[in-house]
Amino acid sequence: MSLLEQIERMIGPLGAVEGKNNELYVSVSAQELQRAIPFLSTTGYELVSLFCAQDFDGLGFTLFYVFEKAGFKQALVIRTDLGDDETVSIAKTYPSACWYEREVADGFGIQFHGAYDTRRLFLHETYPQGFHPLLKSFKNSKIRTVESSEKNQYQFKQMNGEGVCHVAVGPVHAGIIEPGHFRFSVIGETIFNLEVRMFYKHRGLEKLAEGKTPIECVKIAEAVSGDETTANAVAYCIAVEKICDVAVPRRALQLRMLLLELERVYSHLGDLAGMCVDVAYPVGASPFFVLREEIFRQNEALTGSRFQKGTVAVGGLTRDIPADALKSLSAYLADFKSRFNLATHIDSSFFSVVDRFETTGIVKSELLEPLHITGPIARAAGKAVDTRVDHPYDLYAELKPKLITTESSDVLARFYIKSQEVNDSIRLIQMVLSQLDGGLVSVPWEVKDGYALSIVEAPRGQSIHWLYIKNGKVDRYKIRTASFCNWQAIEHAVLGNIVPDFPLINKSMNLSYAGTDL
């Protein structure tokens, strides 16, 4: 049965349906949506994003609920036009909707009735009440902030009882780490509740994109999260290319694969090193740090930037990669695997490392779908998901990345998954290098109006970009990175663990603050 038939069975005959590329847009009323939600949740539809656009198709607000179902290549986007600025919350059925709804409420001032958490999300105390930056009526400019007072203080969950202590950490942490606030409630050393407060780094990227040309916004996509520069830039460019019907030359696609996989390699190497550091085993971390630095240098030789910044462009790449850089990459990779595998072997056979890794920070499998936990964390918990395989983009259908999973879902499992993925990425890079075509790396293209969804697998997991171009300018750019989902997993994964294991669990998940806060 097709996806469409299934949905029609659920909510009756459909109004406007539009299918393009890998997306299926279904337009329903708010009431129909409420009817459909229980069906969707019980038939394996996972909420992967929820966002709002103003004056999208006529006046007013439109909510987009993006769903995924295992086995279907298409993503289902349910569109609901709101008559006014209120609707009903779906967070009780889909807990992952909680942050999305709070995000929409902050951005657009939309009220979600029946929501169990209506606190502000990315707007902290300093923003005045009633301020909603994503409204079209607000032109991006500096605003008058308000003083923090008793009245507008953020209300943390109250955890009380005999022997309960609170440990408040951050936003500024004791190291070179991004800012975020963690509130641990502990009994002795054991954590029995953790509340994470993020968005200290909220930079207003989505608003910044509004009114810019599609080319100008590549920089914004790159700034989402520095170590996912290429993943986000490619996701953004794919969205523009879908809208404007751009056929990217094959060589550019191949080089994109190369860069994306190199990014995955250096990202995972950093995590593997970090996990060793966090169990006080710097000797084990050093080989990973060495390899990672070497990859940064390869990046620089290939693209002129250690983070590959300014390389990906709409229609291909900004410039070709020099042949000698590709040749030296190929030579460099020849003994990479043996050096890398020796390092992982030493660490994973060292008893005090394994002792700290095993059974630490378990993400329960029943949380995976409700919170839409994604990327290596999901794969380490036995869920066979990888956007490169589920919704292949660019050349992944040809390259066929290996989908590696394991069951134990602890830090050791994530160490294993990431080390295996490094090996597979190297295999993919070598494959690309051996089959690289000649020709151009970009094509001329013209801006068209329209909208498109683009889903990619960043090193941290699934990253979703939705773009709407109106009158040749970006009208709405919604970014949802893997970290936005996965931050919610850590609140559960640390329960029953001791506070000193928190940095280790955090590192094993490698969550981006910048990518969440936007």
């Binding site: 800012p179 790159e222 520095g226 806060d517």
Partner: protein, 174 residues
């Protein structure tokens, strides 16, 4: 087990030489060490503050402590508390949500103290300036002593910048 411990004590250290050929970086590092010895009494303590970066700058600063750079050799240490710091390195444009925490971090540092802005956003020349959510570069809330631009600046750029800072402080002292 006992044999292992014994071997660890008496055995030659397990280490390997890196093929590190960056002569310029090494030379710069040891020059910097000489200056730090004189100006800061042998160690320069840095507290890093992320006020709203895209995390690439943090990664490069972390890289300074990895085997290829290992700047602790030069007397540079990244400290956990602002109370131990001589220099505050600010990364990223200062967001509204970070303004108070950033100021508190600076206030907690003992004088004399110096502020270095690292990366385009912290230097006020990034893409974020027109955003409602940021105040702008680090100089919007701090007296910035040195700017190290770049998106992000490389570890070598950072060391070059710190060298310039220490030279400048030495000049002022003299």
């Amino acid at each position: 087990m006992a044999a292992k411990v014994l071997r660890n004590i008496v055995h030659k250290k397990v280490t390997e030489d890196l093929e590190f050929k960056d002569v310029e970086f090494e030379a710069l590092g040891f020059q910097l060490k000489e200056k730090i010895d004189k100006v800061f009494g042998r160690s320069l303590a840095i507290r890093e503050l992320d006020a709203g970066s895209d995390n690439a700058t943090e990664i490069e600063l972390n890289n300074l402590s990895t085997p290829y750079y290992d700047v602790e050799r030069f007397g540079i240490g990244f400290v956990a508390s602002p109370r131990h710091a001589d220099v505050l390195i600010v990364c990223g444009a200062v967001t509204l949500n970070m303004e108070i925490a950033a100021k508190k971090t600076y206030d907690a540092m003992p004088s004399p103290k110096f502020v270095v802005a690292v990366g385009d956003d912290a230097c006020g020349c990034g893409i974020l300036n027109e955003s409602y959510a940021v105040l702008g570069g680090a100089d919007k809330i701090f007296n910035v002593d040195l700017k190290i631009p770049g998106n992000p600046p490389s570890p070598k750029d950072v060391i070059r910048g710190l060298f310039a800072l220490v030279c400048e402080i030495k000049k002022q002292k003299a």
